[in-house]
Structures are given as C-alpha cells and as structure tokens.
C-alpha cells in the first residue's frame, strides 16, 4: 500500500478564497484538482507540502461556455461535450487516448496542463530514490539524467491537452493576489523541469479560452506511447493548419513530450506558410521537426528513437490534416 504523507486539507468555495488561502500558506502548499497526478507524487514522497488546497468545490472553475473551458472541468466532462468536440475535433481522439477512463473521471483540465514533469529517476518510491541517490528535482544536488546539471531539470512534460490547445491558439486565464491576467498558452511554459511555466505559485488556472476562428483550423494530435490502454506520451506532435485548397495559409506545430515543456515551433511552421501541402512539403516539415528536438533519457524509450519518431508523427498529423484516409 502507498500511504499518503500527512498534510492539512483546505477546501475553499471561491477563487478569491483559494487565492487568500494560498497566500496564507506562504508557498508551502499545493493546489489539488482531481489529484490523479499530485497524490501519486505525494505517495512517492516527491516534494510534499504541509498544506493542500482543494479546488474541487469552486463552481467558477467548472464553467464551460462556447470555447472557454474552466480549469476544474474533468476530462470526462470534456469528452462528453459533443458541441465542444464538433467545434474542435482534434480533442476527440486526444481525450480518448489520455490516461484511462477512470482517471479521466476525476482528472481536470488545469491538472492536465499543469501535470508535473516526469522522469524515470524521479517517479519511483522514496525507498528506491533514496537507494539510487536523490536528484535535483527532489532532495538531491544534481540531475541524474544530464549528469553535472545543478541548475536545470530535464524531466519530460507529459500532458496531452496543452499542445492541442496551443495549436488551436488558446489563451490561459490565471487568477492570483494581483488579480487576473490572460496570456497565450504558447507563452505559458518555461523551459525547466522544475519551474515548468510562468505561473506564480499562488496563481490559479481559471480557464483555457479558444478563439472563435480556431473552429476553422484543421488540427491533429499524434501520440506515441508504450501501452495502448493507458499511458503517458513518449512523444507526440500537435499540428493545426488553415488551408486554401492545398496551399498552407496558417500552420502551427508543437513537439510534445520530448522536453520539459511542449515545444512551440512557430518559426519553423511560419517558414512553410504559402507552400503547397504536398508529400515533399510534409517530408520537409517532418525532417525539420526531427532536427529541432533533442530528447534526453528521462523516459522509457531511447532518445534517438523518440527523435526519429517526431518526424513520423509530424507526417501523420499533416496527412490527417490534408484529409488522407490512412493517417493513424
């Protein structure tokens, strides 16, 4: 049995109450959404805090309206929202292949976007980590994956939803002691496996909002994982494009689960605007994507294989967007 460590549980009923509770806890707390990520890390003894602030009783975080999804909406609720899936069809398969149906019942959107980075060294019991030697991210002096690194963790970002929201052009709404702020999701993540994003510790992810014109983008998320029933991505690619016939008018690409954040490939994508989405262009984009990523040995599969597969998944995503029937 994996016993949870002791903590105090607070259950605020509104966003301001939660922000005030966070402030009072002076950084020594974690927010709790569905708990399917946080409680596993706590059971492993990873970075346990004395206070847990549950956001499950805040109605505002459960709101869903016309392209705006509250941070507390569960993945199962999103999966059952036929209007949302018709407007943004790339989420249908993404959600169906995300974790397991049981985890999707309680796992939330915010928890998914903010899911902690993962690493084969870190995601183990306290006992195993103590035997192997602790690492920079929890209780140790240096990274074990990139030896000698004392200031950066290379653990893998493994959330499946953020890349899809990014290529659809979503913004993220945060609420904190200074009030609310909205920023593009593509500018939200910050390269480091410990810090992970620009959210202040006491800010709450209120919602992700999709722009109206995202409905006319064609998007695809291609995930590669070891087990088909449920598993984190070993690598994935999200792509969205607006096509005029077969000419690319707009293109957005994210390489996911090959670094500590989803990698927003905007410059690379912009270089292909105006080109025809033919086989030669698809191969060229796939090759560029492969060259652009440098995964490290933080997951099960070898980095060289994951790097190659980024190209394969990019090509599959673009073929699906083009309408090829064979795309996986």
């Amino acid at each position: 049995m994996m016993i949870l460590p002791e903590f105090e549980l607070l259950r605020p009923r509104s966003v301001p109450e939660a922000v005030a509770a966070a402030r009072a806890a002076r950084g020594r707390f974690d927010f709790l959404g569905g708990g399917t990520d946080l409680l596993c890390n706590y059971k492993w003894g990873i970075n346990v805090q004395p206070t847990v602030i549950s956001l499950r009783h805040i109605a505002e975080l459960r709101a869903r309206t016309n392209g705006s999804v509250g941070g507390g909406v569960t993945l199962a609720e999103l999966e059952g929202d036929e209007d949302f899936l018709q407007d943004f069809p790339a989420f249908r398969r993404t959600l169906a292949r995300l974790a397991s149906p049981l985890i999707r019942q309680t796992g939330t959107l915010a928890g998914n976007v903010l899911v902690d980075t993962r690493c084969i060294w870190l995601n183990q019991t306290q006992f195993a980590r103590a035997a192997l030697g602790h690492c920079l991210k929890a209780d140790g002096p240096e990274c074990r994956v990139v030896k000698g690194s004392t200031d950066r963790c290379y653990a893998n970002y493994s959330g499946d939803l953020a890349p899809v929201f990014m290529v659809y052009g979503a913004t993220v709404r945060l609420a904190g002691p200074q009030g609310e702020r909205v920023l593009p999701l593509s500018a939200f993540f910050a390269l480091d496996g410990i810090r992970r994003n620009v959210k202040a510790k006491d800010e709450i992810l209120v919602s992700l909002d999709l722009p109206a014109d995202a409905r006319t983008l064609r998007a695809s998320y291609q995930k590669f994982r070891v087990r088909e029933a449920w598993d984190f991505p070993e690598l994935a690619v999200a792509a969205a494009a607006r096509l005029d016939g077969d000419r690319i008018e707009e293109l957005h690409l994210v390489a996911n689960a090959v670094a500590s954040i989803p990698l927003w490939m905007e410059d690379l994508a912009r270089g292909y605007v105006g080109r025809t989405l033919d086989d030669a262009t698809i191969d060229a984009i796939a090759n560029d994507m492969t060259r652009a990523v440098s995964p490290v040995r933080a997951t099960l599969l070898p980095p060289s294989y994951r790097k190659q597969m980024v190209g394969v998944m990019t090509a599959r995503a673009l073929r699906e967007i083009r309408g090829d029937a064979t795309a996986a």
Binding site: M1, M2, L4, P5, E6, F7, E8, L9, R11, L32, G34, G35, T36, L39, C40, Y42, K43, V52, S54, R56, A76, A96, A99, S100, P101, L102, I103, Q105, T106, A229, W230
Partner: protein, 192 residues
Amino acid sequence: MKRTLVTLHVNGATWEVAVRPHDTLALALRDGCGLTGTKIGCDMGTCGCCTVLVDGRPVLSCLTLALEAEGARIETIEGLAGAERLHPVQRAFAECGGSQCGYCTPGFVMTSVALLRDNAAPSREEIKAAIAGNLCRCTGYAKIVDAVEHAAADLRAASTGATPPTGGRGDSGGDQDDAGIHGRRQPAAARR
C-alpha cells in the same frame, strides 16, 4: 494528526468515519466502514481495483481523499447484490469465468455497472474502452468482456420483463480491523 468526523453515504447507509485529511476513500471504506470488498492494488491510479461509484460515476478510491467524498452517494461492491441473489453483473462474471483470483473483480464489476447504466447495449469495443483502466493478471480479459456482454443482455431482458434487480442493500459493518480509521454506522433513522 487530528481526525475529522466525515459523513459518508455508502450503499444507502450513513456512516460517520473519523479520518485524517490525507486518508483516501479506499482506506476509509475498508478500515472505517469495514467494507473490504473494495480492493487496493497499485494504490497509484493504474489498476482500477479500488473503483467505487461516487454519485454514479466510477472513481478510483485510492486517489480520492475521504474528506472530498463527504456528502456524495457512494456505491461499493457490497451494495450490489440483493439478500438472496447476485447482481446480474456479478452473476455474469461468475458464470462466464470473468473472475479467477478475484482481486480485480470488484473494480471491474463497478466499472461495468456504471457503463451499463449509461449504455444498455454496448458493443465489445465499447466495453473494452470502458474497462481500459482496470487491469487483470488472470483472465486475459476475453471472459470479462463476455461477462459484461451477458450482463447487458440479462439487464435488458429484466427491464422488459421481470422487475430488474437493484442495488441499495446497506451492508453490515463487518469486523473493523483497527488500522487507524474508525467508523460507525448510523442508526436507521439517520440513514438517507
């Protein structure tokens, strides 16, 4: 650590259980209510052994805090069978060989009950998708899928003819092994 009395509505009975903030629902049900039918396997969200229904939805009780389940309607495997006979899903698991060592079975049964309430006639693919979060080391899954198909057919037949079997039997508290959580079943008048 300080304990709080939490009121849990389980299988139609009301329980008062003294829990600590970090106690999971799985522990509260097993040690507080003595309802040991809910199993703990991985305790990390990967196996589905601990599945119970919370307000009708299948939920992993190993990753749910007991305090967070306060006021919710909880159904466990003990609440399914009638006094004389098994719930059709339980019966189908027994008859189709969907259970061998049985450790995973309560989780599979609860997930299947939730599926069949939503979808009276699921295809085999829909059944496989619904049970994708439940792991079994014994059966090889085929007989579990058979069992859910059979149960679906039985339930459909029951709903058109004889009175369908329903859950709701409040289980006896059983022996309480003292692993730190204490629970007390409320007198009938206090039950919901």
